[in-house]
């Protein structure tokens, strides 16, 4: 494959920007959904952007040392690296060079970056929160990795653009969700945990540990966390769409698919309470893992 530097540079700049903009709209959708479920009107259209700009325009900023500041760069850097490797319609130069395994590795970077920063803050709520976040990662990664392995077996490749191409050649019947419904279900559950939404919202838990890792974050640090949330929603939904919903033929269908994918956990989160930490681990290692293993067995038998 020849290197088109100009095209690559454009992708490096455009893809994170696109991810941020789409992520902002996803955050808006999540908040509006919550409002509608609670029979409220909800925030105005520009609210997520105003929140972030406000946080960056704070006059005083509390920093807890160099590690606190570096951690934010690690966290956002990991996220931006992930956006670049995602295959979206029209931009998949980097996606051809990385694959699903690269993404699995990169997905751990933001959480680890957050752990670095929180340890610098020395806030007990933050420490509990990040311990819970890492425990949750241990819990949801098991069904998620089984799911990715199943998809890789079915399609015979871990390259995401190739997975999309195979699905799109076969039409609707070729979609991962039709070919391996059990794995799609398991991935949906682990996606809920990955986004940290109820019933797996153990590490934010505002009423219990005061938003956990974000307790000591103020101003630009919290603003970066808000940006990370936009990236997170986008990344997870694009990954799910790529593996199970045939990716995007064009931007219109692609956007519809990723917004539908995000709407599912965002709706469920408003009707569930929260599990305890050990219950999350037990539940995720029991049900989604069992479903994923059965799904993997079905895929291997074919």
């Amino acid at each position: 494959m020849d290197f088109d530097w100009q095209h690559m540079l454009i992708e490096l700049l455009v893809m994170p920007t696109l991810a941020f903009v789409v992520g902002l709209v996803m955050v808006l959708m999540a908040r509006r959904l919550r409002a509608r479920i609670e029979r409220r009107v909800g925030p105005p259209f520009w609210q997520p952007l105003w929140d972030i700009l406000k946080l960056y325009s704070k006059r005083t900023q509390v920093s807890h040392g160099h590690m606190h500041e570096i951690s934010i760069i690690v966290l956002l850097g990991g996220m931006i690296a992930m956006e670049v490797f995602l295959p979206v319609p029209g931009f998949d130069t980097f996606a051809h060079h990385g694959d699903a395994l690269t993404l699995i590795y990169l997905m751990m970077v933001p959480t680890l970056g957050m752990a670095l920063g929180v340890s610098a803050c020395a806030n007990p709520n933050g420490s509990i929160g990040i311990a819970r976040a890492l425990t949750a990662m241990l819990a949801y990664d098991v069904p998620f990795i089984i799911t990715v392995a199943g998809a890789a077996m079915l399609y015979g490749t871990t390259s995401l653009p190739e997975i999309i191409a195979i699905q799109q050649q076969q039409g609707l019947e070729g979609w991962g969700a039709v070919q391996m419904p059990l794995l799609a279900l398991a991935a949906l559950i682990s996606m809920q945990a990955m986004l940290g939404k109820e019933p797996f919202e153990i590490y934010v838990a505002p009423a219990e540990i005061a938003t956990g890792p974000m307790t000591e974050m103020s101003g630009k640090f919290l603003g970066s966390m808000f940006i990370m949330q936009c990236f997170q929603l986008y990344t997870v939904s694009v990954l799910y769409t790529t593996l199970f919903l045939g990716g995007g033929e064009n931007w219109a269908t692609f956007l519809i698919k990723i917004f539908v994918v995000v709407a599912i956990p965002m709706t469920l989160t408003n009707i569930f309470p929260r599990y305890k930490t050990e219950a999350v681990v037990a539940w995720l290692w029991k049900w989604p893992t069992a479903i994923a293993l059965v799904g993997l067995f079905v895929v291997m038998m074919r």
Binding site: E38, V41, Q47, L53, K54, A207, E216
Partner: protein, 247 residues
């Protein structure tokens, strides 16, 4: 301003003042305007709900009146919050927590006093244990009169605050830095001479160039005097007094 007492070297007062609107560059003006607008349209609220006013907040927040329409949402830690809501009376003991919370918040920050209790003590005026005027201890942007104010009044208060932030007029937080000595004096009057908070307000005022003539004074001098006592907090109070007397 007394230069000798400052822990760090600060520029003289002339450069400490806010640049006037005619001195800012065009880009700076645009950025400030955008910042002000976003600050007015996105307010994270920290509720300090020890008083009875807390009962009026759920109707304001939930489906009946829905404050999220104007960009307000509850936040749980002072670091993330913009508005501190004092919903009702404060006892001497809870005022300590309010001051600690207020000092942890990041500027620009706004304080809202709910009901008569925060204005003049209200129905607790005769009580020995409650604080009469909240504005003596921390700078308050808006008071909402009433016992208790209805959700409509609360909303009106929020809308007024939003308008003032948008116009750049909600600057009570600067007063805490500029006249810290006065506020600290009132706090020491209640809590004793050795009252000390973990936040270094004088240092912050110097760092962000918000210091004024009233930042330092006789009360902040007491902070330095008792700093050693707080550093050696394992030493019993009587023993410390002896140590101090001998030195």
């Amino acid at each position: 301003m007394n230069q000798q007492n400052f822990p760090v070297q600060v520029a003289p007062l002339e450069s400490c003042r806010e640049p006037g609107p005619e001195e800012r560059s065009m880009l700076r003006k645009v950025l400030d305007r955008v910042g002000q607008y976003c600050q007015s349209r996105s307010l994270f609220v920290l509720h300090y709900c020890t008083g009875c006013g807390a009962i009026e907040l759920p109707p304001s927040m939930t489906s009946r009146f829905d404050l999220e329409r104007v960009g307000m949402q509850p936040m749980v830690t002072p670091r993330q919050a913009d508005i501190l809501l004092i919903t009702g009376y404060l006892s001497v003991k809870t005022l300590k927590r309010v001051i600690l919370t207020y000092e942890q918040m990041q500027s620009p920050k706004y304080v809202m006093g709910f009901g008569s209790c925060t204005i003049n003590g209200g129905m607790y005026w005769n009580s020995y244990a409650t604080v009469k005027r909240l504005g003596d201890y921390i700078p308050v942007d808006t008071y909402i009169a009433g016992c208790m104010p209805r959700p409509e009044a609360i909303q009106q208060g929020f809308l007024d605050l939003i308008e003032r932030i948008d116009g750049g007029r909600a600057v009570a937080w600067k007063d805490y830095y500029r006249n810290y000595d006065r506020y600290l004096g009132h706090q020491q009057h209640l809590f004793g001479r050795d009252w000390l908070t973990p936040t270094d307000v004088v240092g912050e005022a110097a760092h962000y160039r918000l210091a004024g003539d009233g930042t330092l004074g006789p009360h902040t001098a007491l902070l330095d005097q008792y700093a050693g006592y707080h550093q050696a907090w394992g030493v019993p109070r009587e023993q410390y007094a002896e140590l101090e007397a001998s030195s």
